[in-house]
């Protein structure tokens, strides 16, 4: 974002800040208490924490009965999110280029298809997706659910990449070609470096959605050895035998920390992609 000020001296910004601050309060409170409750205990019926404690974080060093090891789950989540990022980046940067730049038979059809799919209610296909997965023997495996999640996010990725490729001047590519480079070399060495910010943004975005995904791993990879954090946390919450909000929140915070770190450091890139929707 270009943080160029458009604030006019004719209007005071204080009233809008106050107004927005007020409506944002519930959200801020929820997040503040999310963090606060994990390291404190409160008297019953009180909203103000009365003591500092780390007991809610004990899940990090003690295994919960009937639950897999938190570190294994974290590792799974990390593998899951990273692989999705890699697959989406590689596949959609290639496909996006083809759709943006190459003379492909039925290119218009492909483009329309991608566009329709990218707005498609794909989660509803989950039963059929299960059949496909079990047919190719990847049910209850990380690989399977990685492929499915990547495939579902692919149309958006391809569409975004296509949009970003469209902004690269044709002349760079023409220059590459008359300079004697093959089309692949042109893509790899001349065009790809031009869309680095886009790759960064799409990569971050994919990582975050992968990190957050719940339904797909829950249905398609329910086994303890392939469990991811979202499923772990959800199963913790679903278990009404051990209802303990502070622990849930501690697991939640543990789970959300990587997201927040990425968010704080790469906010600009992310805004890029969410705003990028208008391109198509």
């Amino acid at each position: 974002m270009s943080e160029q000020s458009k604030v006019s001296a004719n209007f005071s910004s204080l009233p809008v800040i106050l107004l927005l601050g007020l409506v944002s309060l519930p959200l801020v409170l929820m997040y503040a208490y999310l963090l606060l409750d994990t390291v404190s205990n409160s008297e019953a019926g009180s909203l103000i924490p009365s003591e500092f404690t780390l007991e809610h974080w004990s899940f990090l060093w003690q295994m919960k009965p009937g639950k897999p090891n938190i570190w294994l789950v974290t590792l799974n989540t990390f593998i899951f999110a990273s692989c999705i990022t890699a697959v989406i980046l590689i596949v959609s940067s290639m496909a996006g280029y083809v759709l943006s730049r190459l003379n492909l038979p039925a290119r218009g059809f492909f483009l329309a298809g991608v566009m329709v799919l990218h707005a498609f209610p794909s989660v509803t296909l989950i039963i059929a997706i299960f059949i496909v997965l079990q047919y190719i023997g990847l049910y209850n495996s990380l690989v399977g659910v990685i492929l499915v999640k990547s495939a579902i996010d692919l149309p958006l990725g391809i569409w975004l990449m296509k949009g970003f490729y469209d902004t690269v001047p044709w002349e760079i590519e023409m220059a590459g070609i008359v300079d004697g480079a093959s089309r692949f070399a042109v893509w790899r060495r001349l065009v790809l470096p031009q869309i680095k910010p886009a790759i960064m943004a799409l990569g971050l975005f994919s990582f975050l959605t992968g990190w957050s995904e719940f339904i797909l791993p829950q249905v398609l990879a329910p086994g303890a050895h392939v469990q991811v954090l979202s499923v772990y946390l959800a199963s913790l919450i679903a278990d009404d035998n051990n209802f303990d909000f502070a622990t849930f929140k501690a697991v939640g915070v543990f789970y959300v920390i990587p997201v927040l770190i990425l968010y704080v450091f790469f906010q600009k890139h992310l805004m890029n992609i969410y705003g990028g929707g208008t391109k198509g």
Partner: protein
């Protein structure tokens, strides 16, 4: 270079769509299995046959085990311990048992002590009825029936096969069910209400509000607020819903807060269907607002600054500036967000599934969630893949139609200029 994308999309998009369409035309469920069934004369099948073919139903309704020469010969061929055949032939030939268990008791008592598996093998050989036997093919069933002396016409065979088949069959019942059931109508109305209200209040109006208010702020303050309102979207859904549960739970924030004013604690989320809707819409709306916020913000940023200066010089108030400068130029972004988010809202059920599970009662059950519940996730464990697929197919069709409109609206053809390099 497009091959990997094409393969993945084919495998996990197009094939599932095709399969969903196919499943929608079947009676597939947990009980029928997915891969197909067998032919088994169960008590249920006998009940079904009673009306049309009483004689047959009567004749096959009882189990019958006979120690006969045919069975003994087959047993010899199995080459188990020779003592079994000798003893059976000597002591039990001609005996008839009215149940498997009684036959097996005799076999178990043989001096050579057959194992449990062997007992099963042996008793199978003396089975002279078809009741409860699982036949891998329809011909095998018919053969066995004929062996028992039931001569069947082709139509009768069809009837028997239909009555005894345990797998799924082709049917249009799913769509009839969707069309006729008042519950489906209710779910449909729920969905329409949910999509319309969330879209209108949050994804568009509130997003506009956020975009406009942050526009009138110093850049740093604006980006702080935008960051706050983007949080719901980037927070993993499980945690996000957890926070709402904490807010609305009977020992949660709202209850404690209201407790200060003497209001007894209650579960605000599920207390009644109005509350549930209120929070379901808030939960989804807070996520949905962020996309509109960013799209509208960048659209506002794209308005030349001079237009703002000029309008201020012309004496416009802030409201007039919004009304006459900003809003008219946001028409396309608003249309875009509306189209796009309609589809997202139609497909989204994770938030509702995790917060109210469609409750209280079925008050907040929406179409995609109902499809999920029907096909994959319900208490009785009776997963109706066929009906669920039919419900999903309805969404697929709605999604297709909406996205085609969406292509139209956005003048898709202008987005695909011809490539400039020809090779």
């Amino acid at each position: 270079m497009i091959a990997p994308a094409a393969i993945m999309i084919f495998l996990f998009f197009l094939m599932p769509v095709g399969l969903t369409a196919i499943f929608a035309m079947t009676s597939m469920s947990t009980a029928t299995g997915i891969s197909g069934g067998v032919w088994q004369v169960t008590q249920g099948a006998v009940n079904r046959l009673e009306g049309d073919m009483p004689a047959l139903a009567e004749g096959i309704a009882q189990p019958r085990f006979v120690v006969d020469e045919e069975g003994l010969a087959a047993l010899e061929a199995l080459k188990l311990k020779p003592g079994y055949v000798i003893e059976l032939r000597a002591e039990h030939v001609g005996e008839v048992f009215p149940s498997r268990r009684e036959a097996e008791r005799v076999i178990k008592a043989l001096k050579d002590r057959p194992s449990t598996r062997e007992v099963k093998q042996i008793s199978d050989l003396f089975n002279r009825s078809v009741l409860n036997t699982r036949f891998e093919s329809r011909e095998a069933l018919v053969r066995s029936l004929e062996k028992l002396g039931f001569k069947l016409t082709p139509e009768e065979r069809d009837k028997v096969a239909t009555a005894t088949y345990t797998g799924w069959v082709w049917t249009t019942d799913n769509f009839r069910m969707i069309g006729n059931s008042p519950d489906m109508a209710q779910i449909f109305l729920n969905t329409a209400f949910y999509v319309a209200v969330t879209l209108l209040l949050f994804n568009v109006s509130y997003a506009l509000f956020l975009a406009v208010t942050t526009h009138y702020m110093p850049p740093t303050t604006a980006s702080v607020f935008r960051a706050i309102w983007l949080l719901p979207r980037i927070t993993p859904v499980v945690i996000y819903v957890l926070m709402w549960k904490w807010l609305t739970w009977d020992n949660g924030f709202l209850s404690l807060l209201m407790g200060q004013f003497g209001v007894p604690p209650k579960n605000y989320l599920l207390d009644n269907s109005y509350n549930a809707w209120f929070f379901v819409i808030l939960i989804n709306g807070f996520i949905g607002a962020s996309m509109g916020m960013l799209v509208f913000s960048s659209a506002i940023k794209a308005i030349p600054e001079t237009q703002f200066h000029a309008s201020e010089v012309d004496g416009a108030s802030r409201w007039q500036q919004i009304r006459y400068i900003i809003l008219p130029q946001l028409r396309w972004p608003i249309l875009f967000v509306t189209c796009y988010q309609t589809l997202s809202l139609l497909a989204s059920f994770q938030e509702i599934h995790l917060s109210t599970r469609g409750g209280p009662g079925k008050a907040t059950e929406v179409w995609s969630l109902a499809a999920f519940h029907t096909a994959l996730n319900n208490y009785t464990g009776n997963l109706e893949y066929g009906l669920g697929a039919a419900m999903a197919l309805v969404l697929v069709v709605v999604g297709l139609v909406l996205s085609l409109i969406y292509l139209r609206v956005f003048r898709y053809d202008t987005l695909i200029s011809k490539p400039l390099i020809e090779d």
